[in-house]
Structure formats: structure tokens, C-alpha cells
Symmetry: C2
Subunit: 333 residues, 2 copies
């Protein structure tokens, strides 16, 4: 029914998320053609070890070879972005909140070369949102970043599309699954912070250096992306008032629970300029009170009232899902 | 920044929802121009008492006059749909699940006259989904109906846009706020069904004839719209296996609660053809366990995992919000 359209894309950063994107695009190739008329071809992949390209589209064996260490093209990542013909770059290198690199350079290079950009990288958006969105606009290209906030949970595009016509008054949410897991377990088992942190590290839910999560920095970075994208602010994560979860005790959780509340690390942004991350009391019956590693956000609007979205905040396939829906959103509306 | 585009629309059915649409469009006229480049003009309104038209756009005083009973045009609703020049009809007459009328006739007339249709009327979609969507396609017009399921809660368009690329495995949810209110109050106060029903009727949450809500028919109708729109089924609400809430006792709610569950009226549709409305046990910590008049749906997907959306299921401004975002969706992407 739909006219078919070939879209050539490159993937920059080939860790869990980049690999997940490749896997999903290969697995769904036929389905995406049939449903959206999109013939997605990965024509180049780059990561720290080098670059592989195939202008007709990399095959699954070629991608597997690259994953196993075989590098085919003697070119830099930037040269690939500039010189290999393609329509869209997926930027999936790790988040760096100090200067946003190498993500910023990749995104700037891609937009200046006329590529659309879909990214899961929070650093560039949290540090240089205005510059990057203006650059995209100047070049008539799209910059989409649903995967940066809340993983597979649709938030930015939901607000833009499905709540169109609404004024957004505030967004409040749990945007970090590691903190939610730690607080949930501390409350359920009456265990101290350090104990549960170690447990979370053992099962891979917390990193060996958990600072970014437990100090609220990751939440602040996501909040800033929402502030810029939804509230048209021009802030970086350094503008956020942040308090993490390291000083919360099992006693505090128990006292709160007995009074009908949970304690959650909440990111909070509103149309009056509030921009805060802190542990907050959440009524037990409130839609925001979700447990385990789940993420949640409540969007307060002028017409639709409060809308809450709950989903998995992390995971490579979840991020790939958000990236894929961004790609489809650019072409298939 | 955006080019401005005038869109003329008619509103058919001028009760709470139709009136809410007019109110919101008047109130947001300037904002919608600035943000979406949409200059929305209501050129005709029709309800049981007659029709009022103004090809340049009805003014607020003209609309108020019509609301107060002054009918200006000597024409039928169908003549207005056919003869008054406009691009989009909002159909907001009450739901009739016996034959879908007069909604079906209005929608057919509008599509055949080349108008897009946005509706909050569940009857036509629950009874003649396939016929109406095929008619829309044949005439190259859009038929949107976000307001029919879950009020302001974005569900159908969220699945189509923001979960694009995902295979939808199942949708489970509380789609009727009246039942949720009754079950919530019965559980909280340990009160029998009849008592809480009367209370709900007194405060306007249940209708004087509550059959459609408490017997699960309203939930079944919404489930059928999801089944047709998301799972591409071709069913009517008569195909749904339905059990309502009238036989639930406070004792059952208490037993369930002591075991860690709530009892909720759940609509359930999946990709294997399941189509059921029945009271079900929901774990207390589950995102589906929302209280009061809230609606909720959990969408199970192959990539994004489980996504849950919670919102107000009813209310004229909430329905108007869904209708407005459908209108914007047709023009402003």
C-alpha cells in the first residue's frame, strides 16, 4: 500500500545500544517495509576500534564480523559521517556530561553534512541543546532524542504529538531506574543503603562507580533535556538543584510508609522555572509510586489533566525501540 | 515561523463534549496559530435543536446564542455537513451501541463530502469500524477517534506514533472510571455495591441507569475500538466476552486485599484473539492498580516491554483535549 523508500543510515557507537539498534533493524527489516514502507539499510558503523562500510547495506555477517573486531574501512568516524552517502545517523556513544564529546562532534558533523540525527546520547542534549537544535533547523534536518529520557517510555514525542494543543504545566518523575531499585529494596527489606547498593552492583543494576545515578546527576541530565525540549528553557544540568539518595535510611523509609508515603528520587520541572532533583514523599496510592527499576513521569496539562506514563527506563532493546520509533517518525508520518 | 493555514470545521452534537471543543478552540485560537500555524474556525454547529452557520467563522457571542437556543439556519445537520464548505467535522453526538446512529450517518456523510472526521462517539467505531475506515481511505480523508477510548489519555495515537516499530502483544486496562470509582470506594470503606452505586449517582459519577457502565458494556465498546484499531480485528462489541462488577462484594475485595491484590474491571485484548471484560485480581504494586475514577492501560510490546498510561478517562475538557490533538495531528505534523 505504501510507497517504499530506502533510507541509508549509519550507527556511531556500537556498544549495547548501537548493537541493539542494528539487531532490531535487521530483525524487523521486512516488517518495517510492509508496515511503514521503509527499507532501512545500515551503510556504515563506527566505534572506537574503527569503521566498517557497505554502500549497499551491511549484511548480518558483515555486522557480526565488525562486532568481533574486524575493521574494514580505513577512515575516521567523522570522515564516515561526511563522506559515506546516507540520510540518517544514529548516535549511540556513551554519555559524557563534562563536555558532551565525542557525541557533540558527531552530531554537528552529521547535521552539517545534511544527515538527520537520532540519538540516545544524553550529554550533547544536556549541554548544548539550543546550539544543536538550531543547527538542525538551519540545515533543515531533524534531531530526535526520545531514547535519552526514560528509555522506551514515550515522553518527549508523546507530549509533542499526543498532547498537542495542551499547555504543559509541569513534569515530575522517577527518571533513574537504579535509584528506584535501591529505594524499593531498602523499603521492602529494611536494609541500609550500602547493603542494597552492593546487591544492585552485583546484579548489574548499579555501576561500579554509582555516583552519577545515586547522586541524582543522571536524573538531572534527563530533567534538563525535558526542560529544554518541552519548556523551551536553555539550561544545562549544572542549573539543576540536585540532591541524591545516599543519605536516606531504612528508618526514614519506614516512617514514611507508616504515614502512607514512599520516598522516591523525583525530578521536577515546571513552567515557572523550577528545576529540581530530590528525594520526595510520594503518596502510596499515587501513580508516581512505581517500584523496582521502573521509570515514571506525570505530565500536568491544562486540558488533559494529569497524564502518567510508566515503562522500563533502561536496556539496549528498549533504547533501540525509542530510536526506531524516532526513525519511523521522521519518514513515515 | 510556520505558514498559517485556515481550517474550517463543523461541530455536530453540542452537548458537553461538543461545547467543550468549541470552548477550547476559542480559548486557544491565538496559541494554536502561533504554535501550529493553525487558524481553526468553527463555521457550523448542529445539534438536535437545529443548525447555526457562519462561513467566516462563528464568533463567541454567536456560539453562546446557539447554546441558549437560538437557531439561525434552516437546514438539516446532513445538509450542513454536505453544503457548508469546511475541511473537518467533529462528531460529538452521544454514543448509541444499538445501531450507532445518528453518528454513523454523520460520519458517512462527512467522509463522502470530503471532510476529515474527528469523533468522540464510540458507537460508530464499535459497530462499523471497518466500513468507516475503508470509506475514509477511499475518499483520502482521515478518521480519528482518540477521544473514544480513555478520554484525554493518549492511547491509540501513542501506540501508532510513539511505539512505531513495536509489535503490540496485548492491551489490558481499566477503561471505565465509574466502575473503578465504585470498586475503589467499596474496598476503602468496606461498603456494599448498592450503597456505593447510589453515592456515585448522587455525585454524578454514575448515571441514573448505570447498566452500560457496571455491566461492562462501555468497557467492551472501548476494547473493541482498540481491537479494531490496534490489532486490525474486525469485531463489534457483541463479540466481547463480558462480565460486569455487580456481583462483587466488599468481602471479596477484602480477601483479595489481604492476599496482596485489588479487584478491578479489566478489559483485555491480545494478538491471539482474546477479547474479554471481567473483574480480575491486580497485584497491589502493579501499575494497573490505580484508584478513583482514573483510567489506565498497559500495552505489552515486543521491544519496549510494558508501557503503562494513566489518565482521566472522562470529562468534556479531557475529551476536547483528545479531539484537539487529533485535529492538530491531521494538519500540523
Amino acid at each position: 500500500m505504501k510507497r517504499e523508500r530506502a533510507v541509508r543510515l549509519t550507527i556511531v557507537g556500537f556498544g549495547h545500544v548501537g548493537g541493539g539498534v542494528a539487531e532490531v533493524i535487521m530483525r524487523k527489516h521486512q516488517e518495517l517495509k510492509e508496515i511503514y514502507g521503509l527499507d532501512l539499510r545500515i551503510v556504515g558503523i563506527a566505534d572506537l576500534k574503527g569503521v566498517t562500510i557497505n554502500e549497499k547495506g551491511l549484511s548480518e555477517p558483515e555486522i557480526a564480523k565488525f562486532r568481533d573486531g574486524s575493521v574494514l574501512a580505513g577512515m575516521s568516524t567523522e570522515d564516515m559521517i561526511r563522506e559515506v552517502e546516507h540520510e540518517l545517523m544514529v548516535e549511540a556513544t556513551p554519555t559524557n556530561v563534562v563536555d558532551g564529546e565525542p557525541g557533540v562532534t558527531h552530531i554537528v558533523t552529521a547535521l552539517e553534512s545534511g544527515r538527520h540525527v537520532v540519538t540516545s546520547n544524553k550529554g550533547p542534549l544536556a549541554l548544548q541543546y539550543r546550539r544543536l537544535t538550531e543547527l538542525a533547523e538551519r540545515h533543515g534536518r531533524e534531531l530526535r532524542f526520545e531514547a535519552t529520557v526514560g528509555g522506551a517510555m514515550p515522553l518527549i514525542s508523546m507530549i509533542r504529538n499526543n498532547l498537542a494543543g495542551n499547555r504543559i504545566i509541569s513534569i515530575k518523575g522517577i527518571l533513574n531506574g537504579t535509584c528506584n531499585y535501591i529505594l524499593t529494596r531498602m523499603g521492602e527489606e529494611n536494609l541500609p543503603y550500602e547493603h542494597v547498593l552492593r546487591e544492585a552492583q552485583e546484579i548489574g543494576i548499579a555501576e561500579s562507580d554509582p555516583t552519577k545515578d545515586v547522586e541524582g546527576i543522571d536524573t538531572a541530565v534527563k530533567l534538563v533535556i525535558l526542560a529544554n525540549a518541552v519548556f523551551d528553557m536553555d539550561v544545562t544540568y549544572r542549573d539543576v538543584k540536585v540532591r541524591g539518595i545516599t543519605e536516606i535510611t531504612p528508618d526514614a523509609l519506614k516512617l514514611a510508609h507508616d504515614a502512607g508515603y514512599a520516598i522516591k528520587l523525583i525530578g521536577d520541572v515546571d513552567d515557572e522555572g523550577r528545576l529540581e532533583v530530590a528525594p520526595r514523599l510520594v503518596p502510596l496510592g499515587d501513580p508516581l509510586n512505581v517500584n523496582g527499576t521502573l521509570n515514571v513521569a506525570t505530565i500536568r496539562t491544562d486540558l488533559a489533566g494529569d497524564i502518567t506514563v510508566i515503562g522500563k527506563g533502561a536496556g539496549p532493546i528498549e533504547a533501540a525501540s525509542a530510536i526506531l520509533s524516532d526513525i519511523i517518525g521522521i519518514y513515515a508520518r
